[in-house]
Symmetry: D2
Subunit: 145 residues, 4 copies
């Protein structure tokens, strides 16, 4: 909020674009999950929650905490970001962690899109099981208005 009322920024029309692609807010993934990201700290860090969406139909996942950081959106048009989700699972002691690594793009209509690749590790019971511990995929997030 104080960003928007800052005297410097209110004088600079060119910063309107730069104020986009801040990860703060609510996002929906292409698999129907929701993500809520806190206000960013001065150095770009954030925390938040990853929630199963209505479309997911997967009640196994509970609301799970995430932490990450993003590159300064006032300095670059397509800031990169990274965050880690520690999954909270119903009826399971298995440790699952996902590392997301991505970049925010703004379309010609001003719509922000997060493009991310992720690695998901399910804790292996032994070194001999390590080879199959990691999945890979992509996620695309759009802002929930």
């Amino acid at each position: 909020a104080d960003l928007l009322t800052s005297p410097i920024l209110s004088w600079a029309p060119s910063t309107v674009l730069a104020l986009q692609c801040l990860l703060s807010g609510s996002w929906r993934s292409d698999t129907g999950c929701r993500m809520v990201v806190s206000v960013l700290s001065k150095d770009g860090r954030f925390s938040g929650s990853y929630l199963p969406g209505p479309a997911a139909g997967n009640s196994e996942i509970l609301t799970s905490p995430l932490e990450g950081s993003q590159q300064d959106a006032r300095l670059v048009p397509h800031p990169t970001f990274s965050f880690i989700v520690h999954w909270q699972l119903r009826d399971s002691d298995t440790t699952r962690t996902t590392a997301f690594l991505g970049q925010c793009y703004t379309g010609t209509n001003g719509e922000e899109t997060l493009h991310a690749l992720w690695l998901l590790r399910e804790a292996a019971d032994s070194p001999a099981e390590d080879w199959k511990a990691t999945r890979v995929g992509t996620s695309i997030f759009t802002r929930i208005k």
Copy 2:
């Protein structure tokens, strides 16, 4: 140090194993880089540095900061961990970030090994370049005595 002198732990021989696989300390990767990890906070967070090693011969990379967390090493034999490195590059404004996701294993000789997969993103200039922004690989770290 206070862990080792704690009265509870000094009474419990079975915790000797559990005290391994704390990421704090110095590690060498299979590509000859070094990593120094801080003492872990109570909730498992750490910071540190990633350094090009003598074997790397790659002066492009400067000492780069890392941040991450690990699962409680006193509760599980092979704790998982994740950390993010924001690369500092000589003569380059390119933003490069690596997300490591892995697990610590202890050999029969007590030697700790970190097995990790990583994603490395080099910031894309535009959405059309996004498809080729991400590399993938594995790293194995052993503790530097």
Copy 3:
């Protein structure tokens, strides 16, 4: 062939669905490239070409050969497939190869979609460069009518 002439199947309109998700034909990727796949052999093998599309604007890539195979589309609703593209590049001797691994899905409207993850290797000059040789990503293909 005997499937198609089987009395049971010839009476069953529901097998029309099963005949979908044969990879033969022309496809467009979400990055604007085109792919042309030959008629499949009896054991599911195919060859074809990968072409830069009009949307790609990347004249570096020339029409490149591909080879692969798919699981029997008449036996499963979402057959898996794999194929390899050996890239032909203008003004470059670099060897680049992509391995695609995916699955075909049919929407409620009958539209076929190919979901694939890929690894792209650019030949490393030496073992010391091997760690950065491989990129990862996803592609989605839809059939060109």
Copy 4:
């Protein structure tokens, strides 16, 4: 065999190096599996088998067919290769396919090593399950004498 007895090659000591890194033969992976690769065809194609090794202790996997190709080992010192394994599993109808993409390196002692990244897809039952279908990892193979 006729390569080795070819008059041209027997006159040219410099080609001794070039004859290495042909994938034909038997290999052991760092996870204890064995791989047997056929003589390469003139255009670099090969077939073969992937076998669970004695160290694997995983009787779930049966000997599984593989097919692939490699870059001409007589033209480049570190030829790239790719191959696909269609897994044969005991007591399972699940379709699993792995795409390997890698490069062969020759050490100073003449020992050949294959460095590969792979994607392993387990067929998803529906598009909603597709996001978690793919695992990623690395394999290192050394030749069995």
